[in-house]
């Protein structure tokens, strides 16, 4: 835990922080520190994968647009504009595949913390599936429990207390006060 600052009425304030023994002194050093702490870039494989996904989207768009009927310049059909945009997407995807073949195109690598995001996403999907079946209270409670305890590292007591408080608050606001028609059990 970082030590709190000593309070003065005026004059310099000391902040002793064992996590940051050598503080960056200048803006350049600070920017360099931030860059060093930033997550690593995504890399050429990710670039290729993303470009291929976009390429598939573009080609799919072209095929479907032609199927809709492209008409002519003076009398455009429903597929004209989608065709133009899909061609643009395809060309850009190819360009990006070439430009980013050595990496350095932003993005971030997936880390072991990315699993946390995946689990979080799955809980959201579970909410979508469960709410129409059993109302929002139980899925919301489960989401809070999972997010605070397993994804957030909170202790069991604070997790349970906060989760119950949060679900109660949402019930009070969305159901009791605003009278929305979110499926609910109680």
């Amino acid at each position: 835990m970082p030590l709190p600052a000593r309070e003065h009425l005026d004059g310099p304030v000391e902040t002793t922080d064992p996590l940051d023994p050598v503080e960056a002194q200048t803006p350049e050093e600070l920017v360099a520190q931030w860059e060093a702490e930033a997550p690593p870039q995504a890399g050429p494989v990710a670039n290729l994968a993303a470009s291929l996904v976009v390429l598939a989207l573009g080609i799919g768009g072209i095929v479907l647009a032609v199927g809709l009927g492209i008409g002519t310049a003076s009398s455009p059909g429903p597929g004209t504009w989608p065709l133009a945009v899909s061609v643009l997407v395809t060309v850009l995807a190819l360009a990006q595949a070439v430009i980013g073949r050595h990496g350095g195109q932003g993005g971030e690598k997936f880390t072991r913390y990315s699993w946390i995001t995946l689990i979080g996403f799955l809980t959201l999907v579970a909410m979508v599936v469960l709410i129409p079946l059993i109302g929002f209270e139980i899925p919301a409670l489960l989401l809070c429990l999972v997010w605070m305890r397993f994804l957030g590292g909170e202790g069991w007591r604070s997790t349970i207390v906060y989760s119950l408080l949060i679900v109660a608050a949402f019930y009070a606001i969305f159901i009791a006060a605003l009278g929305t028609s979110i499926p609910h059990l109680i």
Partner: protein, 525 residues
């Protein structure tokens, strides 16, 4: 003067109790999320879109606008006290603001930032008041070719000026345009890309897309990001800036206002670029640049004024031309569409109460921010101690349940979750979500403008060059598109020249980073 009458009527609109309340709510929420790391103004506005359904358009936009410029204030607080920028536009404030705090002058830094923000915002509003009717009047002559060119230019500017790889931003924009085509074709009634799904027949609804991409996407991303351990903030005594500080900052505030105002109008510009430029300008014109980074008040006054001015002036293209200047404006564009109001040059005349109500609410909002900024700091700092692990499920639930209340449809919630995953993946792979939302929102307008242009010009789009306004816009479009290519070619030639020179003159100097263009950018940052 009779042209001021609608302006004065606008104050009548703002001073209605509901609108005042929503203004206060907006700026408070804005300041709060500016302080909290994780959610930005775009994400918050997206998440709160369901709130706008039950109120008048004026009231809704007053609140959303308040969130936007309020967040610029909030981001400063953590920059100064914690050396952690709460918002991208507050990054440069860290350099001198935190140093001032270490010298026991946190109140000075925050006070100067608040005053500068207020002045910057007010100057921008005054500029808006006089400039907007001019632009709108000029734009009434716009026909479909002009709109098409303007929309294309706006999308291109946002995609190329935003940070990150340019082609990826363009891809995001193009995909946004493609998503906008889903649904029924307005001209022929044909169903496009719906795959037989009834829910898609009317097109993908904008609100779930925005809530998913920005709201859930940010939430999922924040789950992964390891937050730096929050240092205990330096104590803040209620020390106002001294008269000397005010005198030193006054020119910086003046420069920041003007700079921010113009940078905000430019699509793709905005608060972040304005703050960077403000810092660079102050450093350049200072008599003693070495003071910067050690607690120079101008280093706080300049950027803070500029970012608030830019945040306010970025409303101009939206309210006068119907072209959003950045992602947040695109979301507000969508919010107006939900309310049945189509932003464009006719907005001033068709809905003067809306236009002037929103503009005048910014005066009130800025005053509220100035009053609240210093006293609420203690509260916000305490809120910062609430752990992210507790805030995260709260924001997730607000988003999901809020999405349901739009149309009492679980499909909307599903869309939010799906686009949340898309937003997260986009971030991981380096694609900016802003251009996608912007293009999505403008897609229908762009297509109908282009098709109408084809009708007007008899199938020959080159006819656009024959009309003065659209010709200018097309030339600008080409210039903006081609400029980065030329620049990278020139940079490579300069790089080769410098490397040759260095090789000829002896051992290379110990350089921290590679090309001369990199160090050039860093100095100006």
């Amino acid at each position: 003067m009779e042209f001021l009458q609608p302006v004065l009527d606008g104050f009548g609109v703002v001073l209605e109790p509901t609108n005042l309340l929503y203004c206060l709510l907006g700026v408070t929420i804005g300041m709060l999320i500016g302080v909290l790391p994780g959610l930005g103004p775009a994400a918050t506005i997206a998440i709160l879109l369901p709130l706008t359904y039950g109120v008048e358009p004026v009231t809704a936009i007053i609140m959303l606008a308040g969130i936007f410029y309020g967040a610029q204030y909030g981001g400063t607080i953590t920059s100064v006290l914690l050396r952690l920028p709460g918002e991208a536009s507050a990054v440069v404030t860290v350099f001198d603001g935190y140093q001032l705090a270490k010298q026991g002058k946190a109140g000075t830094a925050l006070g100067i930032a608040a005053i500068g923000s207020f002045v910057g915002g007010t100057v921008a509003i005054i500029g808006l008041t006089f400039l907007a009717p001019l632009v709108a009047g000029f734009a009434l002559d716009f026909g479909p070719p002009e709109y098409a060119a303007l929309a294309l230019l706006g999308i291109l500017l946002v995609a190329t000026i935003s940070n990150g790889p340019k082609v990826k931003a363009l891809i995001a924009a193009a995909v946004g345009l493609l998503l906008a085509t889903v649904g029924r074709d307005a001209f022929t009634g044909a169903e496009r890309f719906t795959f037989g799904n009834l829910s898609l027949a009317d097109g993908i609804d904008f609100v779930p897309v925005a809530m998913g991409l920005f709201g859930v996407g940010e939430i999922l991303y924040n789950l992964e990001e390891r937050h730096r351990a929050a240092k205990a903030p330096t104590s803040v005594k209620n020390v106002w800036p001294s008269r000397q500080d005010l005198r030193t900052s006054a020119p910086a505030i003046g420069r920041g206002s003007v700079l921010g105002f113009f940078l905000g109008i430019l699509p793709g510009g905005g608060a972040t670029i304005a703050s960077l430029a403000g810092y660079a300008v102050e450093k350049k014109v200072a008599k003693d640049p070495s003071r910067f980074g050690k607690g120079a008040v101008e280093g706080v006054a300049g950027p803070e004024t500029a970012n608030n001015a830019a945040a306010t002036s970025s409303f101009i293209p939206l309210l006068t031309l119907g072209i959003p200047a950045n992602a947040t404006m695109a979301i507000i564009f969508g919010a107006l569409l939900i309310q049945g109001v189509t932003p464009g040059p006719e907005l001033i005349n068709a809905h003067p109460d809306l236009f002037w109500g929103v503009v005048n609410s910014m005066y009130i909002g800025n005053i509220l921010l100035l009053i609240m900024a210093i006293p609420l700091i203690g509260v916000f700092v305490r809120i910062l101690r609430v752990r992210a692990a507790i805030l995260a499920p709260i924001t997730a639930l607000i988003t999901l349940l809020g999405a349901y209340t739009i149309r009492n449809s679980m499909f909307d919630v599903l869309l939010v979750v799906v686009f949340g995953a898309v937003g997260y993946l986009m971030k991981k792979f380096g694609f900016e979500p802003g251009p996608l939302v912007l293009a999505f929102v403008l897609g229908a307008l762009l297509e109908s403008s282009l098709r109408r242009s084809l009708l007007v010009l008899d199938g020959n789009l080159l006819g656009m060059m024959g009309r003065p306004i659209s010709a200018t816009l097309v030339i600008l479009f080409v210039a903006v598109a081609v400029f980065p290519l030329i620049k990278s070619l020139l940079d490579r030639r300069t790089h080769h020249a410098v490397v040759d020179e260095a090789l000829r003159s002896g051992p290379a100097p110990h350089a921290a980073s590679g090309t001369p263009s990199d160090t050039h950018t860093k100095e100006n940052a």
